[in-house]
């Protein structure tokens, strides 16, 4: 059974799909840390908000596609509010202050979501196209999960192109490497920071609405996913796109494949890997160059 091709391919696809979701979430976290030197523990809460807004939009308009579009926008708006209200003033604060404020935000968002949407889990219905299954190596596989993989790959490709080929990408890389110098060269680093923060929030919202049909929207989803996302960021290296990719794939595969083949130790394996990386390569596997 375990060595059946269909079974194996299903597990591999599950691992890739989980990696894609982790990537959508951790890339925002990573770039925000790399660029702003800011730890946003509330990133998981933004993901949760994305899922809930997605459920509501889909219920109101009857369209999953509208939810896919509007949920990231709504989360970006929330992100912009917390940026101007709190984060901008914490830019030069100690890591402790940043952790505390964003930890406080987790509590605030958690209870706001409970006030608005209640405590029960909410599902999100898929359009006909995505709700089907296809045969992959003889085993049926949900189309929706393939869609999530495709979405992750598209975002990854788009970000790679923007960061490595466009002018704005060059400006971002310059600012990660040496903010004050980039600012001397006429880059409005402050505005760039804000733009990057918004993109990170939008991706967190996207991850949330994408995850909702798979896991259902629940109040615990934000704090549950935050830990794997942080692990991805630390393992991969803060602020680097390649690091986030490698980290997502590592964590996604170890958690998914490990749970199938070595269930006894799989859950501890990821944390052991993180501890190992912190001891041997505290800067992460593929760190962004520069000060950090």
């Amino acid at each position: 059974m375990i060595w059946d091709v269909g079974f194996l391919s299903t597990q591999l696809l599950n691992a890739v799909q989980y990696s894609a979701l982790l990537f959508l979430l951790s890339i925002g976290l990573s770039i925000i840390f790399g660029l702003l030197h800011f730890v946003n523990l509330a990133h998981g809460a933004l993901y949760m908000i994305g899922a809930y807004v997605g459920v509501s939009v889909a219920a109101m308009t009857g369209s999953y596609w509208a939810a896919l579009l509007l949920a990231p926008l709504a989360v970006t708006l929330v992100g912009a509010v917390i940026y101007f209200a709190l984060i901008k003033r914490l830019r030069d604060a100690s890591p402790l202050a940043q952790v505390l404020v964003t930890f406080g935000l987790i509590f605030v968002f958690l209870d706001l979501v409970r006030l608005i949407w209640g405590d029960i889990e909410l599902g999100l219905a898929l359009p006909q196209v995505l709700a089907q299954q296809v045969e992959v190596f003889g085993a049926p596989y949900p189309v929706y999960r393939l869609f999530v993989i495709a979405l992750g790959v598209c975002v990854m490709a788009a970000l790679t192109l923007i960061l490595s080929r466009s002018q704005i990408g060059a400006m971002i890389r310059a600012s990660v490497e040496n903010g004050p110098m980039a600012s001397c060269l006429g880059i409005n680093v402050e505005r760039l920071f804000f733009a990057v923060f918004c993109v990170g929030c939008a991706l967190a919202g996207l991850a949330g609405v994408v995850a909702a049909p798979i896991f259902a929207a629940s109040t615990g989803m934000g704090t549950a996913i935050l830990i794997p996302a942080l692990i991805v960021v630390v393992i991969g290296g803060l602020g680097s796109l390649e690091g986030a990719i490698v980290g997502s794939v590592l964590v996604g595969f170890i958690e998914t494949i490990g749970a199938v083949f070595i269930p006894a130790v799989s859950s501890v394996l990821v944390y052991a890997m993180l501890a190992g990386v912190l001891v041997w390569r505290p800067q992460g596997l593929i760190p962004a160059r520069g000060r950090s």
């Binding site: 730890v39 709190l86 003033r89 604060a93 890591p95 402790l96 202050a97 940043q98 952790v99 505390l100 404020v101 930890f103 406080g104 935000l105 987790i106 509590f107 605030v108 958690l110 209870d111 706001l112 409970r114 006030l115 704090t223 830990i227 942080l230 692990i231 630390v234 006894a264 859950s267 501890v268 944390y271 052991a272 993180l274 501890a275 912190l278 001891v279 505290p282």
Partner: protein, 324 residues
């Protein structure tokens, strides 16, 4: 640097005295509340010991607390160890774990230290959750309280247990204060202020930090053993990182780096939880907002803020006084 000022001694006596009086005169509910405050206060002061005096902000103190609780519960329930031996085992396990985390994580600093402790804490949480011998997600029930009948004390009485919890709090505070006033503690403060300089004058800073973390873990272990005996039940939820975060909130609300502040913070949090919890299910919202406000108003906490104001008032020269 830590100094046991007269103000701190007075607050400690008033704090323990008030809680003791409240527990004695109040009913069962008051005693439960006093125990809850005492346990959270011990946990918070153990965190303040490393976070406030060694710049090691830990998000795994809930896990350390859970290790001690499980160490005590498993050895006494499953293996039938006598209570004293089981307590030693629980404390030893917590201390050893603290030493390990301290040794590994002292390689890093700032946000990386926080992440490393978070990872170790989660490792414990998941491990407890998955170990069926330890009850898995059901936890272990039927944990006994220590038998002090030889001394004529029955700890199954709520008042006796409340008094014991307060006594342990005083002992924990005394140990922490004594260590911080020793040369070991002064060196720790030096590392906090400037680690590179301490290394330059020949201090093995990593070993020093690891040992400090182990001492803090032993103190957190005291809280864990008390908690296991209080509810007579342990569960993996004790190791959750959100609880570590809550302990950090207590330290911040009370005053980081004051040692006495966390006691005040613990009382505030437990009372807020019970008072607000009576009105609304959403008391976390209030805690979150209070925490954000606390950081933005200087992050000194209740005790630190009062001290700061008093010092500032004292620093203002009296009118007519000659300028220095």
């Amino acid at each position: 640097m830590f100094t046991q000022t007269p103000a701190k001694s007075v607050i400690l006596v008033l704090f323990v005295g008030a809680l003791g009086l409240y527990a004695t005169l109040g009913g069962y509910y008051a005693r439960e509340l006093a125990v809850e405050i005492a346990i959270l206060a011990i946990l918070a002061l153990s965190l303040d010991f490393v976070a406030g005096f060694g710049a090691m902000v830990s998000l795994c103190h809930a896990a350390i607390y859970a290790i001690a609780a499980y160490g005590f519960a498993a050895t006494s329930v499953k293996l039938g160890f006598p209570a004293a031996l089981a307590m030693l085992f629980g404390l030893g396990a917590a201390t050893l774990f603290g030493l390990l985390v301290g040794a590994v994580a002292s390689n890093t600093s700032g946000i990386f230290f926080i992440m490393a402790t978070l990872a170790f804490g989660q490792m414990v949480y998941v491990g407890l959750f998955r170990t069926s011998w330890l009850g898995g997600d059901d936890g272990l029930a039927g944990v006994p309280r220590v038998d002090l009948s030889a001394l004529g004390v029955d700890l199954n009485g709520s008042l006796a247990f409340a008094i014991l919890a307060l006594a342990v709090l005083v002992v924990a505070y005394a140990i922490a204060a004594a260590v911080l006033r020793s040369s070991f503690g002064r060196t720790l403060s030096g590392i906090h202020a400037n680690e590179a300089r301490m290394r330059a004058i020949g201090v093995g800073t990593r070993a020093h930090k690891a040992i400090a973390f182990a001492i803090s873990a032993a103190l957190a272990g005291l809280a864990g053993i008390l908690a296991a005996q209080h509810t007579q039940y342990v569960s993996p939820g004790m190791a959750q990182w959100l609880l570590s975060g809550e302990v950090l909130i207590v330290v911040i609300l009370g005053g980081l780096g004051t040692l006495i502040g966390p006691l005040v913070g613990a009382a505030i949090l437990v009372l807020l939880r019970h008072e607000l919890g009576a009105y609304t299910d959403h008391w976390h919202l209030v805690i979150g907002l209070v925490l954000i406000a606390a950081v933005f108003t200087g992050g000194r906490g209740v005790y630190g803020e009062i001290g700061h104001r008093l010092r500032r008032r004292a620093a203002v020269p009296a009118p007519g006084a000659p300028h220095a």
